[in-house]
Symmetry: none
Subunit: 223 residues, 4 copies
Amino acid sequence: MQSTPENHQPGCRWLRRKEARPGEIMDAALAVFIEKGYAGTKMEDIARQAGVTKGTPYLYFQNKEELFREIIKSAIQPRLDEVQSYIDASADHSLQQQLQNIADHWRQTVLETPRSGILKLMMAEAGNFPDVAAYYDTHVIQRFHQQLIHLLETGMARGEIRRLDPVYAAHIIIAPMLYSVMHKHCFAQQNQQTRLDSQLLFQQALDILFNGLRTTDIQTHHG
Amino acid sequence: MQSTPENHQPGCRWLRRKEARPGEIMDAALAVFIEKGYAGTKMEDIARQAGVTKGTPYLYFQNKEELFREIIKSAIQPRLDEVQSYIDASADHSLQQQLQNIADHWRQTVLETPRSGILKLMMAEAGNFPDVAAYYDTHVIQRFHQQLIHLLETGMARGEIRRLDPVYAAHIIIAPMLYSVMHKHCFAQQNQQTRLDSQLLFQQALDILFNGLRTTDIQTHHG
Amino acid sequence: MQSTPENHQPGCRWLRRKEARPGEIMDAALAVFIEKGYAGTKMEDIARQAGVTKGTPYLYFQNKEELFREIIKSAIQPRLDEVQSYIDASADHSLQQQLQNIADHWRQTVLETPRSGILKLMMAEAGNFPDVAAYYDTHVIQRFHQQLIHLLETGMARGEIRRLDPVYAAHIIIAPMLYSVMHKHCFAQQNQQTRLDSQLLFQQALDILFNGLRTTDIQTHHG
Amino acid sequence: MQSTPENHQPGCRWLRRKEARPGEIMDAALAVFIEKGYAGTKMEDIARQAGVTKGTPYLYFQNKEELFREIIKSAIQPRLDEVQSYIDASADHSLQQQLQNIADHWRQTVLETPRSGILKLMMAEAGNFPDVAAYYDTHVIQRFHQQLIHLLETGMARGEIRRLDPVYAAHIIIAPMLYSVMHKHCFAQQNQQTRLDSQLLFQQALDILFNGLRTTDIQTHHG
DNA sequence: TATGAATGAGCGTTCATTCAT
DNA sequence: CATGAATGAACGCTCATTCAT
């Protein structure tokens, strides 16, 4: 999917200067795209948010669409293996502990940062950028899904959880994560009373999940 | 769904369908809004989808924004008490059975119909229509949330489930519903391999939830 | 200038039915055209004002422009010789009396009727309908101007007024008439305090005019 | 008048004239509004007349209506006290001399410039912009009317003219001014034979008026 | 590099006009 | 004759994009 930022040969169609400017513009653009959607966002809004004038974004990005795609790409690229390395590093923890760690980490590095908006943005614009959405789905969501499946299978193999379809179980683990993102970006800002403490949410989710996922230790307690 | 715009005989420049038109246009508009978002949707797209020409929607709706709001309103109004009455009718069932019924009913009447798109649309456009989003949140999401809380509290009082914070438990029940909507409208169409069987999803979700929500009869077994 | 209403042969492009409807529509159209101008007037406004629906005016007039032209024509035609015959009938009166009569008559049959609006309409639309304006100028304004010139020349020949350029004198007689029309249609409706009593206006105008137009035989009479 | 749009060199897609533009656009807009009326004028006509493209006027004026109102405002503002100061400066002249000066001045600075069109425009659009028309009436026409009334009253007090209603006398002085404006903008361009020499018109008007307004100098001849 | 005046394709909306009823 | 739903050309206005400065 388009050349990565690193491979900018001379002759590369779009200039990429890896100084501060492009990053500032992408940050600004992300914020505005999340708030207003792709079509609802004016290049001038982005420029103003970035503290530059109308023409400047065009020095770094060929056009609005490329700017949009770059944002998504730049959000996907660096994270592709992040979770995996994180998982590998804690391979000897219990499944519950691993999931707890993943949730905590994700909460701190995604949910509570502007990057959570990428997900919301992808959802909103999937119809207009099906290729980007498919790419995001494949490389982010499904990848994470596979990682969860693997964790669950390992957990089953270890006897930590009872046997069940790991594919759907993984969906059920992902669901509250997506839910918290949508809540944050769609409703929380207006209805202040609708506070959602995501730490509590994940804590309770894991509690509920595990007291159900766990192999019937009840019986074992009997013995 | 949409009454067939195909029934234009050639030679008949237009049909007169004063009663049917608004509904047809709203159906068409919903479909296009969901796909492209509010700003990305052209009135002419809507008209074409409805089988009319660009001027016709303006005979029934003042402008694009009013058409948008009407769609949301018309989706909210009739459902306000639907779930409640459904809940009331099955008050004597077990909690698990009630949740199963709710999930089935919702799947058949919302998820598997175009109306599921309303939720996706609300999420995508919350930034541009904060008032509508807040209204939707209050009257649909929070209301359903309250209903779930009530069910959970009743279940706790009855001893069907163990004591826990019903607010967050309800969030965890809602999460897979929202997840399935997003999946359907954002990714399923492109990545055909990403099939999500929502019936299975909810079935397994309830299985997992209940084998965790269930009061820890383990302890009682201990005594 | 287009065929007159009378000559509607079969085959005539535009139907003219001389019953009530066309007249009602023209009256309505005149009122709205005067108020809003040609371009600012919607055919539906005209129809509503006439108590019919959108399509009806098209049964009698080919299109908006023809309707407009018909109104002007119908206002011009019947008046072409009206003033002349009126003048002829009072040929033996004094010039001052004749002018007084003309002013009274014009005030009652034009200024104080909706027909005064035709003049205002012509002025407003002269740029868009130069042919109509030129026709109106030639056949109404200049014609009246010529009639006044003739009266003034007669008055000079009779020794009723001193010798001066009758062309400009006639302009000066016409000016208050146009002034009263503009006042009525442009300002009087808003600023109610700006009442202009046209009878008084013409009375004083004639007084002033005649005490100046009169040959200075005063001195001679004295001696 | 309008700065030459001709000075576009070929090969230069646009000129940057931030300071000059608003004035150029207003000049162009005034010309087109006068010719075609408000509703009949397309923004693109204005732009073309100003030598720019359709988007440019919107860089300086919010919309068509604001552009219209600005034109009127800008024509009213600077003139509010112009006549008064002019009158004050010639307070010791005879009334006839004062009126002659006013007429000359007005002819040179208004009638024979594009600004005369403002009056025509106000008349044509009074129905669509009643607030603007009322403002114009109050601050331009009635104000001038009051100034004339004051001059006439002074003239009466000085014994320069006989006693009469100064309100209507002032109307009669204004009438030829309005008449000449209408003539210029509505008929003169088409019917070239209808030449109206405004200098002659006012000269003769004053002659006629004064030979009637003058206190009966007849008596003075007696002494 | 950065600016921002200017461009012009494109969309929302209107309304003169048509024609099946 | 009359209606009014539907049409579609045209206009107001926006905003992504360009490029002289």
